[in-house]
Chain length 139, copies 4
């Protein structure tokens, strides 16, 4: 699936993302890049992007990286997410780069680095595990 198809799939299945906050910028072998568009409603006290926005970004980027490999399986579900918040984000878009570390039949594990647009230092880093539906195993 292309980046455009994956973004369209995302919006059609997740009504909460219908105001396009996320842009799927690039997909490649075991890789996805997703941009969180800067918007006031992502802010928390102190003027930074909120932790929940970054967690949602990490989860979404990993989901796109998995779907890019296994196809449009809406029912793949996160089983574990671990995130470290590293630096105060700038008032700018946040770019997530998700890399799959393992793509097994039952579990996909990846890591996600997140950067404020224009900065080389990560604002957050996550590892995410997705469970892949059983009906795919025999497909």
């Amino acid at each position: 699936m292309s980046a455009e198809e994956l973004e369209a799939f995302l919006y059609s299945h997740f009504p909460d993302m219908k105001n396009p906050s996320f842009r799927v910028e690039k997909v490649d072998e075991h890789f996805a890049q997703v941009r969180l568009l800067y918007h006031d409603r992502h802010l928390r006290p102190g003027g930074t992007i909120s932790g929940p926005s970054l967690m949602t970004l990490a989860d979404t980027a990993m989901y796109i990286a998995v779907l890019a490999m296994i196809g449009p399986v809406a029912l793949a579900v996160t089983t574990n997410l671990n995130i470290n918040f590293l630096r105060k984000p700038a008032q700018a878009d946040v770019i997530a780069q998700a890399r799959l570390l393992k793509l097994g039949k039952r579990l996909a594990v990846g890591e996600v680095s997140m950067y404020s647009d224009g900065s080389a230092e990560p604002v957050a880093h996550a590892t995410v595990t997705y469970s892949i539906p059983a009906n795919l195993e025999t497909a």
Copy 2:
């Protein structure tokens, strides 16, 4: 601070929560209970509460547990969150119970168990670390 004061503080500082999705139900020594009100916009494909909604709930419940102990410090920030998704949530409110495991001068660590209303089996479990602002250390 009382549960009502903490809920009011939450809404006044986090504009994104102005449609009251969260209700602070109870605070006690090292403990907070927060309810995520069921709403269609929390759903993901398959009809369950989305992972990001549960992550936001875990983070919020821990934040309330910390604020209940140290007072209204909007700038306490999450440094680490680890969540395991255990069961498909029901189409119902989700209740989070946050317990502080450590409340140090620099870091607070707690665990959060989340249940669909009316169920005894947890739908998710998180551990969360908050960093406490340095100006409190000398206060």
Copy 3:
């Protein structure tokens, strides 16, 4: 399986534990209590029990809690372990209490609280996920 049988199973399958560092003290429905016997070789600079010793204890306690439920399956393997180190341990035994949060067909998830013997405040807290071998699924 009883606590004694589980401890014997542990030593017979893990040659590295042949000097009995661990004692299985209690098993119950979704619960296990394992004691790490105090010994100089667990120390790290500063005179405290080392982090790796506590990680091994958390992993072992969870393993025992899983085996107590599903029987002696040596090949159950850890897929994720997350540990927070909370306080400097005393120069004493460490007691781990593992509770299963979920025992599914493919994954078991639990949390482990660890205490220095005689203290009510945890020194560390872990969440652990075990993968259960596929041949059990059809058994």
Copy 4:
């Protein structure tokens, strides 16, 4: 500090590592590579390197990466470690590559990828947080 100095420091401060299981192979800006020498006592049932051995390796590699930047501070302590076990390790050395994501005054956060010698696919991946002693902050 050089790789040789860091390895000597490690052995002099951690009596449990006196049989040289770990070799510090390389240190660089925000980076360390540490090798776990293959030995039967690291095995678990099924003939693979045990989870605790990999956790100890991840913790050690991160410790070396931190010390290489801040100098020989034996009392830096791990506050959080999260590890995903990805593949069955080969009966071979395991090589850990630790990269610092953040080196703050109070906390250092890094990620560690671990590979069986000769393989390009990681056997495990960890994120580790170290707390840096307060006396360094004012030094």
